[in-house]
């Protein structure tokens, strides 16, 4: 009888448990652990704030009023398998304080590298925003969808710069860098060893050095190269340089 009672309660307990899929889940079954990204967005060595003016590496004064970007993360394990899923796409937005730490789930394993997608890969970039709830990172409500491009703005930087090196007046040169389209999607492989263990949290340090968006790979002029909507060939060229510099402005280490 005791045996039956035990079976009975087990069945009741199992059958009433609601299966809940968690955000960030890469596999629906199997052992998983958490990777916490200790993320800092820096400029001039300090955490970026929209209340402050900064000096570029060319000593030009500037201020950032808006910074928004999409990143996605996949990991390469020691068997060279790539692990990732759509839930690992994140929208970072300076205005809603999402430029801080974040956590993703990965299957328990040893990993040799992270593949960081800057922007959205063509498959995700083809998402129809009207199919999503307004608070989803890919919904039209985020102000990141471009219907003319049938895709999303991957990177949005807005602010003001000085008009020249010795300009001490109120910042008046608009800075508007809106980068999108599939040609501007960049994947970077970042070699970093880390282990993910079941029910354990692995910490990775991630740093964005915004100063480098004008010189990480391509030398650009913050005053002259201040405007792109990726809308024509000239703007697309600047947009690609900006997002490539941006991708190299991000460091990840364990």
């Amino acid at each position: 009888m005791l045996k039956y009672t035990f079976i009975l309660f087990s069945i009741i307990s199992i059958s009433c448990t609601k299966v809940k899929l968690e955000k960030g889940t890469c596999t629906e079954s199997g052992s998983r652990g958490l990777v916490n990204f200790n993320f800092k967005a820096l400029t001039s060595g300090a955490e970026i704030e929209n209340t402050r003016e900064y000096l570029s590496t060319d000593t030009i004064r500037y201020r950032i009023s808006d910074l928004k970007f999409y990143l996605s993360f996949m990991a390469v394990n020691s068997d060279n398998d790539t692990i990732g899923c759509i839930d690992h796409v994140k929208l970072f937005n300076m205005k809603d304080s999402s430029l801080g730490n974040f956590t993703l789930q990965f299957p328990s394993d040893r990993y040799d590298a992270l593949i960081m997608g800057v922007g959205l890969n063509p498959q995700i970039n083809g998402t129809d925003p009207s199919s999503l709830e307004a608070d989803h990172p890919l919904s039209a409500n985020q102000g990141t969808y471009w219907s003319w491009a049938n895709g999303y703005k991957f990177l949005q930087i807005e602010g003001m710069t000085a008009t020249h090196k010795n300009d001490t007046s109120v910042l008046s040169n608009p800075l508007l860098l809106h980068v999108g389209t599939n040609d501007c999607y960049i994947e970077r492989v970042i070699l970093t060893d880390f282990s993910v263990k079941r029910r354990d949290v692995t910490i990775l340090n991630m740093k964005l050095n915004l100063d480098q968006i004008y010189n990480a790979i391509h030398e650009l002029d913050i005053i002259e190269d201040n405007y792109t909507q990726t809308a024509n060939s000239e703007e697309a060229e600047l947009a690609f340089k900006i997002i490539e510099n941006f991708s190299y402005a991000i460091e990840i280490s364990n």
């Binding site: 999503l132 409500n141 219907s147």
Partner: protein, 374 residues
């Protein structure tokens, strides 16, 4: 035989344990029970969901678990919206400043922001498609529509509502105790349910039946003039689409921006700091919520302070380039220079904007005054 009985017992218990406890929906707190009136017919509490119907090209609205729309909640909210019972002297209702004839914005009185001789600091915002918005008021001071409703009722320069008086009036009213019971299952009417009901009604007000919506759905063609205006609107030529995004077809942005309506040499030179007062960040001074330009033909006067009486004045402001200030949006590419649109292009732009007017909103009986006292 023993095994069969055991299995049947298991199945019976399984069934019972997983059955939803319907009594929960009828549980009323002791405090609320104290307000139960023996000889009053409360009817039946019914929390049937209210479904928002919107076209396929519109994203799903924001999730709203704190105050899900119910049919009875929306009906109650509609009554409260049109009832002056909430104002101090029972003379002002929500609809006084948010008139259906004006797409639920301020009635055009000829005077900006004026109602019964009271001049309001800010223009009354139009109320439609709010289920998609995450910040409310011109200065984006609240992320909750319920909070916005509450502060509007309490506004000393408007309804000047006092909750003790309001609740006393509602509790002693001939029909409201029944309405609140049917919508929320409560006998004791509280502030929270009053604002929830009004917020539900506001969220139920949808406007997606403008000629432009019909065009997007392939139901009609638009005149060439309007289509040329759409091209101006949605490109750098008109520079409109940054703040009134065509993406999602809501024509707003859940953000505050400085659109160059005021000139200032410093961050503190604005008469109204707007969003800056909320964030306490001087670089947000002079910024105001970018509102939807749907129904723009019905929502004059324009801007946060109602400074422009006509759509033509608004277009002239942008065509002239607007005024520079340290917090002006970098998306205003032609600030100080002007868009240089010709008169013909201005007319094309205006023709397009008129295709965003949804006249069915003004006549929709689901949103009209249920008391027929006007």
């Amino acid at each position: 035989m023993k095994s069969v009985i055991s299995i049947l017992l298991i199945l019976l218990l399984f069934q019972l344990s997983c059955k939803k406890d319907n009594r929960n929906s009828d549980v009323v707190s002791q405090d609320s029970l104290n307000y139960y009136q023996e000889d009053y017919n409360y009817g039946i509490f019914d929390s049937s969901a209210f479904k928002l119907n919107y076209p396929d090209f519109i994203s799903r609205p924001l999730s709203n678990e704190q105050n899900p729309l119910t049919q009875n909640g929306v009906l109650l909210g509609r009554k409260l919206f049109y009832d002056p019972i909430l104002s101090a002297d029972s003379s002002i209702k929500c609809a006084s400043c948010h008139s259906q004839n004006n797409a639920f914005s301020s009635p055009s009185t000829g005077l900006k922001n004026e109602y019964k001789g009271i001049i309001f600091e800010r223009n009354s915002m139009a109320l439609f498609n709010k289920a998609w918005e995450s910040h409310f008021a011109w200065d984006m001071r609240t992320e909750s529509l319920e909070d916005k409703v509450k502060t509007s009722i309490e506004n000393q320069h408007g309804m000047n509502g006092n909750w003790e008086i309001i609740l006393n009036r509602l509790i002693n009213h001939s029909t409201y105790p029944r309405d609140f019971y049917q919508a929320f299952g409560i006998y004791k009417i509280e502030e929270q349910e009053v604002v929830k009901a009004i917020a539900q009604f506001i969220r139920s007000i949808l406007s997606f039946n403008a000629p432009f919506d019909q065009y997007l759905q392939g139901q009609i063609n638009l005149p060439d003039e309007a289509l040329l205006g759409y091209q101006i609107f949605s490109t750098e030529k008109g520079d409109c689409f940054h703040c009134h995004t065509i993406e999602g077809a809501l024509f707003n942005l859940n953000d505050a921006l400085n659109n160059g309506i005021d000139s200032s040499k410093s961050t503190t030179g604005f008469d109204d700091f707007g969003y800056g007062n909320v964030t306490d960040n001087e670089f947000d001074n002079g910024k105001f919520k970018s509102v939807s330009i749907r129904n723009v033909g019905f929502t004059a006067p324009y801007m946060h302070d109602g400074r422009f009486q006509t759509l033509k004045e608004v277009l002239e402001h942008y065509n002239s380039g607007g005024h520079f200030s340290p917090t002006v949006s970098p998306t205003m590419k032609y600030i100080g220079e002007g868009l240089a649109l010709s008169q013909e292009e201005m007319l094309q732009l205006e023709a397009f904007l008129k295709t965003l007017n949804d006249s069915s909103l003004l006549k929709n009986s689901s949103f009209s005054n249920p008391f027929n006292d006007e």
